[in-house]
Amino acid sequence: MQAQLLRRTLPSLVLGLLFLSTPAMGVCLDKYQELFGQLQKQTDIMQRTSLLLDPYIKSQGLDKDGLKEHCREHPGAFPSKDALQRLSRREFLRALHTTLGSVLHRLTALQRDVPKAQDLEMLNRAKQNIRGFRNNIHCMAQLLPDSSETTEPTPAGPATSPSPTPTSDTFQRRLEGCRFLHGYHRFMHSVGQVFQEWGESPSRSRRHSPRRGLRKGVRRVQLSRRNKRLPPRGQLPR
């Protein structure tokens, strides 16, 4: 039991520390590689089912044969990996930001069906992590070219909304919550794969690399307000 608790809380703690190393809300880290590395690590952690899905299934009694099979993501509830791969970096970040915003709302709704304080705390930590992750995505979007379009992430469209139809049926809500969490972890796994492709594909990276030179003036103004530590030239990836 203690080991299980540790297995649950440890990744969250690591994730928290990762967020601690990133700037606070509103102050962006302008080192692309560092930010990208953190996003990758955070994605790796957030896709672990031991963080949310597994404890949820256990506490709701869904860990039975015949039920587990139905704890599958609704098709279309989250963007598929292919759909994410087809997006440009900017579009990808926008979709990610929007989807995670919906996830936050859904997690809040899910908390109502979780009676145990321990599970509530687990959901709270997950929400905090998602907020931090979204903040990092926001900062990453600013490092991409034409960041003016991405300063305010657009709300998620109906096709990518993971929110199901509200129901008063407890069993159905329970099952939907399980499906939602399954989809969430799958989605984060896909996000991780896309991030991995970003790192492995220099040509694409080069195509979408931040035009630091072009954006220098704008960034300088912004950073001078937010972060006094300007990176030296050439620190961003080409």
């Binding site: 039975k64 039920l67 407890t170 329970r174 099952l175």
Partner: protein
């Protein structure tokens, strides 16, 4: 009779006909038939609610009526419930009735109808049923929902152990549907073509989040389910109790029992209701609640505590008088005053409970391992005097209080510590002494035991010792020994002394302990007895004393091997003649000595007996160091006088002497013994432990023996360690030694004398050859400053003539011949032309030595053989003057000297101190005794130095030659 029967039958038929008629008449709608029927559903409680009204009642008319209600399921003909509901109906009243369905109402349609009858005594004639109302249809499902599968009831909350019926409704008849309870398939009952129901009996609590029940279409992904929330049965609160500490607030507590295991929002609540005041409060906590006491000082309270959840309500009751439930607060401000050595006064305060309440306080005192308890009545302040306390002792006092008028509960304890003051020591110290006589003085070592805490009554600071001379009572001496010393040493003369010892603390002095020390140590010779100790100690006994004794003292040393020995003693009564001395310091293998003293009426101790023993004897661990002496060819003596029997780990009873010999024969008195290594030897037993020498006799000369001496005790003998080896000497060797030793001494003495007189002998036998260059003649010549006058160099000499002389030299032998030879001298005489005056007479004495010859240390000149062969003489003459034969011989000799071998011999020259002046040369052929002569030594090889084949050795004098040069 028959007529009567017919009449009767006719009457009955008429009556029946009339009855039938009447019935038909009253089946017509009654003026009080139920109307305005409305049916509603409570899905959560699975209830059908029916409401209706009865019209046509007069104002204020009340009519007792019966309503019969029929309920059908699925179809009207399938009646599942009939019930008569009796009630009093008033004018314009809306009537209600509920029915709880076991089957969820959503599972099937239900139909309901009712009729009424008057059941009132006031109108007995109208007791007939009205017509049935029309069927009212109830459908629990929402009509617009077209989903293919439903499971009911949704989110039902039941108690553990209850029975539940669930159902599923399918839109399609073709689907094969299976239902599961927590993964276990359930067997159901078909209600209709699309409806099946499942009865769950005695449902169990599984988890807080409820039990999952779900149905699946076998071919497809459709799954529907419900969550059945199972609650544990709400228990009745236990141990419900209320009390007050201040008559202002009541604190009610209870044990809520086990948790129902429901979610927080479904959990039970607790309410407190007081019936006299009619007040009610909702408790915020599950196990306690506060209640404000009414200011009008209500004395009696009747509480109802109700635990209630969605399923059940439990209540408990409590009636009490407020003044009987007073639980005072703990006393405070506990203080001690007037604390002396034996008394202390404790004061404390209590929280007031109204003006007329008296508290009973209980005071406990803990100290010295005892507890004393006192009860005191207190209004506001409490006070209690503790007496009979021990001085200088820490006590712990605690106090608690309760309502004195009506005991309910004690308050919590309030504790406080205090320490009593010191008092003078109450007991005299236990004193003993040890007396030794040193150089005419009496050295008395006094010992005393520290007083116990109860006796000391405080911290002992010092001990006073007053030494009083009993012979001259005016003389006394005072010593003050600071604590924690437990003894001192005083030196007394041979007088009789009385010693007083007192212990002193900050308050006063203890009674004195008196002991009389006689100037005579009184070491009377008392036989020492042996006692056997055990693990529990030594049991000692002594003879009762005929004269009066005031008691006995047994003393001993706890550590006899230590110099300080740690003297212990034990005081015993006058009637005691035995005791057991035990000590934790007693160790096995250590000898303890006990002395038993009797104390006379004059307080003079006198030694009665001595005991010695071991608490446990151990085998000796060491053997004595044996010294062997007087070794002869037939015996030797062993001695171990340094071996102390007193310091052994057991009483030594004697010694075993082991002797190993090659012969293996044991003489009389010896016995054969087999050692641990299976070696066989002879053993001799010495029974007397004081015998520490032993003579081993009857030995064989020039034989090898090994011996070992080991002590033996009652628990065994010493270790069989290394044997000492000894070999007996030869029988005659002592005699030989007596002769040879003086001889060797004499020879050594002679050699020493010879060595010391070697210089003298050398001077006498073979003096050193003088070095001409170091001669004093040189200095003489230099002093005349004639550079031309110097020692004649042979190169400067031009021989004119050679005179050969034969000189008889006695019996001296050359090294190369043993017969006596005559020296041959060649005299070089100046020619007429070269000789200008009286020249020096030069005499050549030619000695030719070989190495062996030089070492022979023969004394005197080695003369040339008197009859030298001509060949040898020719060597020393010029070609024109010397005989040819001589020349020839000489040349031959030189020619035989190989190069490089000339160093084997040496040539030395000797100048006469008187031959420096040419003018002094004699004109006559010189005589050897008067003339300077050159003793010429010439290096010749050893081969040449060998004697000639003729057997006679002859050496010739020749001129001194440079290396490689010949003078002719």
């Amino acid at each position: 009779m028959a007529l009567f029967s017919v009449f009767q039958t006719t009457f009955l038929l008429a009556s029946l006909s009339l009855r039938t008629y009447q019935s038909e008449v009253w089946s017509e709608p009654l003026p009080w038939a139920p109307e305005s029927l409305k049916v509603s559903i409570n899905s959560t409680r699975q209830c059908l609610h029916l409401q209706w009204s009865v019209h046509n009642l007069a104002y204020h008319q009340e009519l007792k009526m019966v309503f019969q209600i029929e309920i059908s399921r699925i179809k009207t003909s399938n009646v599942i419930w009939v019930e008569d509901y009796s009630t009093t109906v008033k004018w314009n009243q809306v009537l209600h009735w509920s029915w709880e369905s076991k089957l969820p109402l959503e599972c099937a349609k239900h139909f309901l109808r009712m009729r009424s009858a008057v059941d009132d005594a006031k109108t007995p004639e109208q007791r007939f049923w009205s017509n049935w109302s029309s069927w009212e249809e109830v459908d629990g499902k929402k009509g617009g929902d077209r989903r293919p599968l439903f499971v009911f009831p949704k989110d039902k909350l039941v108690e553990e152990g209850s029975n539940v019926t669930i159902c599923y409704v399918s839109r399609s008849q073709q689907n094969n549907i299976s239902c599961y309870l927590e993964g276990v398939r359930m067997q159901g009952e078909q209600l209709g073509p699309n409806v099946s129901m499942f009865n769950l009996n005695h449902v169990a609590f599984i988890r807080e989040t409820g039990t999952n029940i779900y149905c699946k279409v076998d071919q497809g992904d459709g799954i529907k389910g419900i969550v059945l929330f199972v609650s544990k049965v709400l228990e009745e609160p236990k141990d419900f109790s209320c009390e007050t500490q201040d008559l202002m607030t009541l604190n009610c507590t209870w044990d809520p029992g086990r948790d129902t295991g429901l979610l927080k929002q479904l959990s039970q609540s607790y309410t407190l209701f007081e019936s006299f005041s009619g007040k009610k409060t909702l408790c915020k906590h599950k196990s306690w609640c506060s209640w404000q006491v009414a200011p009008e000082s209500q004395e009696t309270y009747n509480f109802t505590l109700t635990a209630e959840n969605y399923l059940r309500k439990r209540s408990v009751y409590l009636l009490f008088n407020l003044t009987h439930r007073v639980h005072p607060k703990a006393p405070f401000n506990v203080l001690f005053k007037n604390v002396s050595a034996t008394n202390a006064t404790m004061t404390w305060k209590v929280h007031t409970i109204g003006n007329y309440y008296t508290l009973l306080c209980q005071v406990d005192l803990y100290g010295e391992g005892k507890v004393t308890q006192h009860n005191i009545s207190v209004k506001v302040d409490g006070e209690h005097l503790f007496g009979g306390l021990e001085p200088d002792t820490q006590y712990m006092a605690q106090v608690r209080c309760a309502n004195a008028n009506r005991f309910w509960k004690w308050s919590e304890w309030t504790c406080q510590n205090f320490t009593t003051a010191e008092a003078a020591p109450s007991e005299a110290p236990d004193v003993w002494r040890n007396v030794k006589s040193v150089q005419g003085d009496c050295v008395v070592t006094l010992f005393w035991k520290p007083l116990s805490k109860l006796q000391a009554n405080g911290k002992i600071l010092f001990y006073n010792i007053v030494i009083e001379n009993l012979d001259r009572s005016s003389i006394s001496k005072l010593l003050s020994i600071p604590a924690p010393a437990n003894g001192t040493e005083v030196i007394l003369d041979q007088c009789l002394y009385q010693i007083h010892v007192t212990a002193n603390n900050s308050v006063g002095t203890s009674p004195a302990s008196v002991i009389i020390v006689s100037g005579d140590p009184g070491n009377t010779e008392v036989e020492e007895e042996r006692v056997k100790g055990t693990e529990d100690g030594f049991s000692l006994s002594w003879k009762p004393q005929p004269r009066n004794v005031t008691g006995y003292v047994v003393d001993w040393c706890d550590h006899p091997r230590d110099p300080l020995c740690d003297l212990q003693w034990k005081n015993l009564g006058p009637n005691t003649t035995s005791t057991v001395v035990s000590s934790g310091a007693f160790r096995p293998g250590v000898r303890y000595n006990f002395r038993i003293y009797g104390i006379s009426t004059e307080s003079v101790p006198y030694l009665l007996e001595k005991k010695t023993g071991y608490s446990q004897e151990l085998a000796p661990s060491d053997n004595p160091q044996v010294v062997m002496s007087n070794l002869t060819s037939h015996s030797f003596t062993l001695s171990w006088k340094d071996y102390s029997t007193e310091s052994q780990p057991s009483f030594i009873q004697g010694y075993h002497v082991y002797l190993k010999s090659k012969a293996g024969q044991c003489h009389s008195g010896w016995e054969k013994a087999v050692l641990s290594d299976d070696a066989v030897c002879c053993k001799y037993k010495i029974d007397n432990p004081k015998q520490k020498t032993f003579v081993v006799e009857n030995l064989q000369p020039e034989s090898f023996y090994e011996f070992l001496v080991t002590p033996y005790t009652s628990v065994g003998e010493g270790p069989h360690g290394a044997f000492t080896k000894v070999t007996t000497p030869d029988e005659y060797s002592p005699i030989l030694i007596r002769i040879i030793l003086p001889m060797v001494f004499c020879i050594l003495l002679l050699m020493i004398i010879c060595y010391l007189k070697s210089q003298w002998m050398k001077e006498k036998c073979y003096p050193d050859i003088p070095d001409p260059y170091k001669s004093s003649v040189l200095s003489l010549i230099k002093s005349k400053e004639n550079p031309r006058l110097t020692i004649m160099n042979i190169k400067d000499c031009v021989p004119d003539s050679i005179e050969v002389l034969n000189k008889q030299e006695g019996t001296r032998k050359s090294l190369t011949e043993t017969e006596s030879t005559k020296p041959t001298y060649l005299y070089l005489l100046p020619t007429e032309t070269s000789y200008s005056g009286p020249g020096p007479c030069i005499c050549f004495e030619n000695f030719t030595y070989n190495q062996a010859a030089s070492d022979s240390a023969s004394c005197g000149h080695v003369p040339v053989p008197p009859k030298a062969p001509p060949s040898q003489l020719g060597l020393l003459t010029s070609p024109e003057n010397l005989p040819k034969s001589l020349e020839k011989n000489y040349m031959n000799s030189l020619g035989e000297i190989p190069a490089g071998e000339t160093s084997l011999n040496y040539v030395s020259q000797l100048a006469s101190p008187t031959s420096g002046d040419k003018s002094s040369l004699p004109t006559n052929p010189p005589e050897p005794a008067l003339c300077s002569e050159y003793k010429m030594q010439m290096a010749i090889p050893l081969g040449l130095a060998s004697p000639p084949s003729s057997g006679s050795s002859s050496l010739s004098s020749i001129t001194l030659l440079e290396e490689g040069e010949h003078y002719h």
